[in-house]
Symmetry: C2
Subunit: 82 residues, 2 copies
């Protein structure tokens, strides 16, 4: 089953990459935007049939490696095989 | 209007970060997964009312700065304000 993990910085955590993009977009002439934040996406297949098992495995991966839960939030999306 | 840009490496482009995650997860004892890919997410607000205008502006940002279209694909999601 395909799993998409979206990882974003928590509110209030400084996002220097987002700030750099903000500055550069303004230098390029874009003005009608605000509040840029950047995040990561990790996409993988997990070989389990049961939704709950997949979610549990993905959550364990996030807790143990993928996410720094001190400064990051994460959200797991499961996309069922057709 | 909130805009989420998902940027991922094109098929066939080497993904060293994904490879590193793959190795580390296996070292941690995870085995039932494959095909890890990483991507970026850029979230911003664009101050326009019309969906089409927002999409056009976001697409221009992607083409001019956010995406390296030689090696990356991108997908723009627009989330309407309530």
């Amino acid at each position: 089953m395909k799993v998409i993990v979206n990882i974003s910085l928590k509110e209030g955590v400084l996002d220097p990459e987002g700030q750099a993009i903000d500055n550069t977009l303004r230098n390029l002439g874009f003005n009608n935007f605000n509040n840029i934040r950047t995040g990561k996406q990790i996409i993988l297949n997990i070989d389990k049939v049961n939704d709950n098992e997949v979610l549990k495995e993905a959550d364990k991966m996030c807790q143990e490696l993928l996410v720094n839960t001190v400064i990051e939030n994460y959200h797991i999306n499961i996309i069922k095989d057709k």
